[in-house]
Amino acid sequence: MMYFLVMIALLLAGVLIVSASDRKLSRQVGILFSSIALAIALVMLVEYLHGGTVTYSEAIPYISSFGIYIQFYANQFSIPLSLLAGIVTLAALIGGNPMREKEKATTALALLFEASAIGLFASGNLFLFFIFWDVGVIAAFFMISYLGSGNNHASSKTYLFYSILASALLLFGILLIYFYMPVRSFSIQAIEAGSALIPPSIQTAVFALLFVAFMIKMPVFPFHSWMQSAYSDASTQGSMLIGGVLSKFGAYGLLLLFLMLPIAKVYAPYVIIIAIISAFYAAFNMLKKDDMKRMVAYASMVESALILAGISAIGIFGEEGAIYGMVAYGLGIALLFLSVGSIEFMFGSKSTKVLRGVVRDAASTAYAFLFGIFAATGVPLTGAFIADLLIFIGTERSFGLVGLIPLFSIVIVGAYLYYAAEISIFDTKKGMDMVRYESGHWNPAYALLVFAIIAIGLVPYFILGFR
């Protein structure tokens, strides 16, 4: 079936139409295209849950001298992750950019980013994976540099520097795989089948290159220094898409790497150590922050580390947990960024030292933030609970009790986020006045994200029903 091709073509057409359309209409047009894409993804989900089989879409010749095809896989990874991309983009577009003069650019970039994300999650070969990866990286770059605020130019440059380093390593690794395969191929399926015949030294080199590239993107300690400034200086939509979806590019790539290269098993114990260090590093760094956007950024880094732990566990629990985590944490982080962005817009500050009593004037935003904390910390009935459960069962099976250590980093994250919410949002004794009373279209966007989080929390079948 050509679902993925239709979705991507539709979204790219949307980018062109939005660029050509009137500024006032651009948001509506963008919402239209994004909802059609989400609807297609839902149709696909229903169809595959009914059929129960995982199928591969047919291939169209693209660069035949290298045997490169345009091929998309509809499987247990690509469908949930496309849903994540679709929901977060739609929520970002519904929320809208309060900076009206840049609304057109916001919408066009969001649609371009959604197309690249869906293409990346569904791509059937590493060449397409790389192309979509870079398109997403560049779209996100403009969300920081052109649409962002604060110190956005410096942070966009740091972001670009790290991202292109990741792309360079990724390209080198992909080319090494291609040329050292017994039969040269970019196809992920072919690589999974034949990679055992790649010489171990080359496998190690490829693993090192791709692992660093994906660590940069997730981000994981010690390659995270682009993260906090990029997340906090991007526009609200940019933060939602970068934190919620772009960071999952790296996580998904890492999952593929562990599936593709047999040598990854040898390095798994080192990977879990990196995950533990990264989780606690991020959690303790978070305690120093009073900027709420940076707090959320570090929370997302802790969750990236949990996903990394799940991937390193190898086996059914870790893998399912990682996918579940990508979707559930992605939605939660997007909700947190959206509510913090709205608070910043309405109250003119995002610092816990300044903000007081947000709940008095902006109740829906305050409760959305609280629900975002639930979703991020894995309170039962949210998706993250099931993700944590699967990930820690997986890590305990593979590494014993050591695998449970990262659990305590969530406790730190949860405690500090609740503390922040307590002093600056729910303490109504010392209220502060809003700077702007005009509100965005935030409520429907909150509703969409909250609904999605509860839906996958209540019915894990949506994601686990593929096998």
């Binding site: 010749p61 693209y62 660069i63 035949s64 001298s65 290298f66 790389f130 192309i131 870079d134 398109v135 560049i138 770059f141 403009f142 540099s145 052109y146 130019h153 966009s156 440059k157 670009l160 520097f161 292109i164 380093l165 792309s167 360079a168 390593l169 390209l171 080198f172 080319l175 090494l176 291609y178 040329f179």
Partner: protein
């Protein structure tokens, strides 16, 4: 019928170009520009026809039993077509010359020289073509008035040195050639010492024109000092013609000892890439930055020559074609901004707001030069790196990939500056310039998204030279 058009039309059109070139002096007005444009377009079309009908090979000249002077084969037809097309674009951007008639005269002569080099079947015609290109360029720079004299003199001095070294090198191997024909010379009587000396002198003579380190020190000064359209010409045509000459000399005339020279190209490629990129990082003047970036691009092209097989050479020629369009487009934008006294990176602030089209175009050209997919520059680099990895030259490929990562630093600096906000007035672009930039953009994007046709055309043309 078409065979006749190609057979007689091509030399006739080139002769017409030469005659009108010599006859244009002292004439002003639009009509000389129009005439030059029409003849160049006709040559591009005829070259395209020859390529499309895939004429194997035919020779022109060779009167009275002497060896032929020119030949038409798929390779030369391809580059006749591409060079004429690029020159039409450069003609479009040089619409504002003061002494238009005289400029068009020198411009036509540069075109004639370039086409002579591409079509030459004899080392003598090749040499004359190279000399015609550089001498006419010097005169065209002088046409720009007194402040251009420095650049013109610098170019004149280095190109005279280049051509005399070339002649010296030629004199060493002359006795062994078959009447100067561009065909492999037999290695029977020739000693290795003589051959090496001659090869080193050939490289030196041609590397000066091609801007290969360490013979590149003139480039940044001349690029900065010359008029914008001449800079585009230098980077888009003169340099590429020198590469075609390197190809003819080393891979056809000295073909039997290619394995001896390939390591030389490898060293030069690595030095050139690093030098160009590292120097570009510290530049503040965008024109100088592009000059150094053009040096690093010469390094990428040499990387393909160092690989020295069909894959490497066709990758190099793909990259040559890609860089022609990227560099002409980028210099067109930079030239237009220089007319408005905008030269430094800091002054590029807010270009997106001041003229969206120019900002987006320059961004796409720069991303393409940095090798970001899905643009034509990425395809070229992908082909180059994969040809290097495919022959096991991992260090060379890694050097190339690291360099394409370094280059994002300075391109990103310009792009980030353009994305900043500003309150300065909007800028307006004249139609001819916009059309030229638009043409380059279309080529870069279309052949970036669907490169297969050009890849196979270039591959077949390079193959045709060896048959």
């Amino acid at each position: 019928m078409i065979y006749q058009i190609v057979m007689y039309g091509l030399p006739l059109a080139i002769a017409a170009l030469a005659i009108q070139g010599f006859g244009l002096a002292r004439r002003n007005g639009k009509y000389t520009t129009l005439l030059t444009g029409i003849i160049l377009s006709a040559i591009a079309v005829i070259g395209g026809l020859a390529l499309y009908r895939n004429y194997a090979f035919y020779e022109i000249g060779g009167f009275g039993g002497s060896p032929a002077l020119f030949r038409v084969d798929p390779f030369s037809a391809l580059f006749v077509s591409v060079i004429s097309a690029v020159m039409v674009i450069i003609l479009l951007i040089s619409n504002e010359e003061e002494e238009k008639g005289i400029f068009n005269m020198f411009f036509s002569l540069v075109a004639v020289g370039a086409l002579v080099v591409v079509l030459s079947d004899s080392i003598l015609t090749l040499m004359l073509g190279l000399e015609l290109v550089s001498a006419s360029t010097v005169l065209a720079i002088l046409n720009g008035g007194k402040r251009r004299v420095e650049a013109a003199v610098k170019l004149f001095v280095v190109s005279s040195i280049a051509i005399s070294i070339f002649v010296f090198a030629l004199s060493l191997v002359m006795p062994y050639t078959n009447g100067f024909t561009i065909a492999p010379i037999s290695m029977g009587g020739i000693s290795d010492a003589l051959l090496s000396l001659s090869a080193i002198l050939f490289v030196t003579g041609l590397a000066i024109d091609a801007g290969i380190v360490p013979f590149n020190l003139w480039m940044a000064d001349v690029y900065e000092g010359a008029q914008g359209n001449i800079t585009a010409l230098l980077s888009g045509v003169n340099k590429k013609v020198a590469f075609i000459a390197i190809f003819y000399i080393f891979f056809v005339v000295l073909a039997l000892r290619v394995s001896m020279f390939a390591p030389l190209f490898e060293v030069l490629a690595i030095i050139t890439m690093f030098f160009g990129n590292l120097m570009a990082m510290v530049q503040n003047n965008v024109k100088r930055m592009l000059a150094y970036s053009s040096i690093s691009q010469a390094g990428y092209i040499l990387l393909g020559f160092a690989v020295a097989n069909i894959e490497g050479l066709s990758a190099a020629f793909f990259q040559i074609i890609a860089h022609m369009f990227m560099t002409v487009g980028a210099f067109a934008v930079v030239m237009w901004l220089a007319e408005k006294n905008i030269n430094e990176v800091g002054e590029y602030k807010g270009l997106f707001q001041r003229n969206m089209f120019a900002g987006v175009a320059l961004t796409i050209f720069m991303l393409s030069m940095a090798g970001v997919p899905p643009l034509m520059g990425f395809v070229g680099k992908f082909l180059l790196f994969s040809s290097a990895i495919g022959t096991g030259m991992l260090i060379l490929a890694f050097a190339g990939i690291i360099n394409s990562f370094i280059s994002i630093y300075y391109y990103g600096k310009v792009i980030a500056a353009m994305a900043e906000g500003t309150d300065k007035a909007r800028l307006h672009m004249r139609i001819g310039l916009g059309l030229a930039i638009g043409l380059c953009l279309v080529v870069i994007v279309v052949l970036g998204i669907y490169p297969q046709p050009l890849i196979s055309v270039v591959h077949n043309s390079v193959l045709s030279v060896f048959n």
